[in-house]
């Protein structure tokens, strides 16, 4: 792994922090006397949320769609990413004329609290010490993230979301939104997710966290103060996690047993195989854009998520009386959030006679399929949103003006 190390720009925590500060976009800061009440009991204040918006909010504020990003995603859904210079992570789905059409909808995406792309997280300065929080940052839950987003919507003047959409951890937030703020969610699209994190998924997260914490440069979480960075630990965590985002078939299709830049095996521990080289690349590019402590907090938030447990062990109670229209999506080769997890959610929704659609998409691309070009996903999302817009009687600003003139 040392070899790859040399090819990657070394970057300290402080550098990553300053890069995140340079991010273009919006930041809202809630003052210390309006803290975020966290599930762990500690109020967090002041706190900031960095967010992006696309499109225009219509006059009756009825066309807002909140996108909830996944574990290591961020608010840069549909613009060039300021740190990586790559296209936004969901440009395939979000933009003018795309299934989440920014000509029609006002799209909002916020970096989750606890994140590292401008929102308050373990990398931020602890007002009590003047130093980065590190592990003094309180543990954040999925519902804490949702509560913070609700504050953002209050600020933006959005009472009811036309839709809330997200995959994986973002999908957990979608479910939490629908359960906690029933009247604020007209429609919801949870994708490749579940109502709780499974034991196997917690196990994978623990491997990742242990990899980070085993790196001597982690320094008990104080690497920024020490001018260090647990790059190797975080890279290994990402490598292990990345395998769970793909599938056996997808890996085999992409790499097989092909060798990397060589004719025969080296009888050593270089990256002989393409798949090794690919994973190392995934690991090391990740380190350039993500804070190791934030990774610990984000994975923990997912582990703690159990929507049924929050409702006397009965998932359907979470959705009792829901007015929301749901479109649940899963992928056949997703072994991180298998279809059964989504089916459990659908059954709970059926048990309260909710308006629910459920699409399982045949693909070999695994969990990451939700980020990729899956025409059936695009068709389901755009068909569902169009029908929901008709039900909602959604109008663009121009149409609202016409209506005013006519009256």
């Amino acid at each position: 792994m040392g070899q790859v190390d040399q090819t990657t720009n070394r970057q300290s925590g402080a550098q990553l922090r300053s890069k995140a500060r340079e991010v273009e976009g919006h930041v809202i800061t809630f003052p210390a006397d309006e803290p975020l009440e966290l599930d762990c009991g500690t109020p967090l204040g002041p706190f900031s949320l960095a967010y992006q918006t696309y499109g225009e909010l219509n006059k009756d504020a009825s066309n807002a769609i909140l996108i909830c990003h996944a574990l290591t995603g961020d608010q840069h859904v549909a613009n060039i990413h300021p740190v990586t210079d790559k296209p936004g992570w969901w440009e395939i789905m979000v933009g003018p004329g795309k299934p989440i059409d920014t000509d029609r909808f006002f799209v909002i995406c916020a970096n989750h609290v606890g994140g590292c792309m401008g929102s308050t997280g373990p990398m931020s300065e602890n007002p009590e010490t003047g130093k980065p929080y590190g592990l003094d940052f309180p543990v954040i839950t999925i519902s804490d993230m949702v509560r913070a987003e609700a504050r953002l919507l209050d600020h933006l003047g959005v009472d009811q979301l036309f839709s809330v959409v997200g995959g994986s951890m973002g999908g957990m937030q979608v479910l939490e939104w629908a359960a906690s703020y029933k009247e604020r969610v007209f429609s919801a699209i949870p994708i490749a997710t579940g109502a709780r994190h499974s034991s196997q998924n917690i196990a994978f997260h623990e491997v990742g966290r242990q990899a980070v914490m085993a790196d001597p440069e982690w320094c008990g979480g104080r690497y920024i103060d020490e001018g260090k960075m647990p790059r190797k630990g975080l890279a290994v965590a990402r490598m292990a996690a990345h395998i769970t985002y793909l599938s056996d078939d997808a890996l085999h299709r992409k790499f097989g047993r092909n060798l990397q830049d060589r004719e025969k095996i080296s009888f050593g521990f270089d990256a002989d195989f393409q798949v090794e080289s690919y994973l190392r690349h995934q690991g090391y590019t990740f380190v350039d854009r993500f804070d190791p402590n934030s990774y610990l907090y984000m994975t923990r938030a997912m582990d703690y998520f159990d929507l049924a447990a929050d409702h006397d062990g009965e998932l359907s109670k979470a959705f009792e009386g829901t007015p929301t229209r749901f479109c649940c999506v899963s992928f056949t080769s997703d072994w991180l959030f298998p279809t059964e997890e989504t089916r459990t959610v659908v059954q709970a929704l059926n048990a309260v006679a909710a308006n629910v659609s459920f699409v399982e998409i045949e693909t070999d691309k695994g969990h990451d399929a939700f980020l990729l070009d899956e025409p059936e996903l695009a068709d389901a999302v755009s068909g569902f949103l169009s029908a929901a817009a008709r039900k909602r009687g959604l109008k663009l600003n121009a149409e609202l003006e016409d209506a005013e003139l006519g009256s």
Binding site: N350, V359, E362
Partner: protein, 208 residues
């Protein structure tokens, strides 16, 4: 739309008859909704809150892409998840003969819905009877086009059989419409044994 309607009239008159049984503005669950044709007729002509369950994933995905609220599910196993009286109408269109436990399915339909609408091919039709009687072979007709070894239809019944099942379940038959081979409605005054002989399909509107 007219064009579509005339095509529909040619193919599935039973769908139009069923949609006429549904009160406007009601909540409907179509069990075995296929590609969503009936759901669309219902949404467009009866302004209902229409939902569907379909076994085949391809059908489900088509429906959702058209903006219909459909879940993948199995009539035999998944109806138990729904609460009592969740819908004004439950519909089982040309599906009961393909279920493993038609009696249980019908009970569930009557539990979930205040009304149940069931349509099925009538195995008592004279062509069916004559094929068994004179050819000694399992019937293959235009309406029942499968051979015995590849048919998804595993629980055929006649109109009389269905009426008997309704009796057993204490279900009240509010309406019964039999259609002839041309898809035309048979007169209401025709006695049951004649409907059972010349009706190729039947549509029942039931309540508990």
């Amino acid at each position: 739309m007219n064009m579509q309607n005339s095509n529909l009239q040619a193919s599935r008159i039973d769908l139009l008859l069923m949609s006429e049984m549904v009160n406007p503005g009601s909540r409907v669950l179509d069990v075995g909704c296929g590609d969503g044709t009936l759901l669309r007729i219902l949404s467009e002509t009866r302004d209902v809150d229409a939902r569907g369950i379909e076994l085949q994933q391809s059908g489900v995905n088509q429906c959702v892409a058209r903006g219909l609220s459909v879940v993948q599910g199995d009539a035999d196993t998944d109806l138990v998840n729904y609460p009592d009286n969740a819908f004004d109408f439950t519909i089982l269109s040309q599906t009961i003969q393909a279920t493993h436990r038609p009696r249980d399915v019908l009970e569930q339909l009557l539990r979930i819905g205040k009304h149940a609408i069931v349509s099925f091919p009538n195995f008592g039709h004279w062509r069916v009877r004559s094929q068994i009687l004179f050819r000694g072979r399992m019937p293959v007709t235009e309406n029942l086009s499968f051979s015995w070894y590849d048919t998804p239809n595993i629980h055929f019944c006649t109109i009389k059989d269905f009426v008997a099942l309704c009796d057993e379940l204490d279900a009240k038959v509010e309406r019964c419409v039999a259609l002839n081979a041309q898809g035309q409605r048979l007169g209401v005054k025709i006695p049951l044994f004649m409907q059972n002989l010349v009706g190729q399909q039947a549509i029942f509107l039931l309540t508990r």
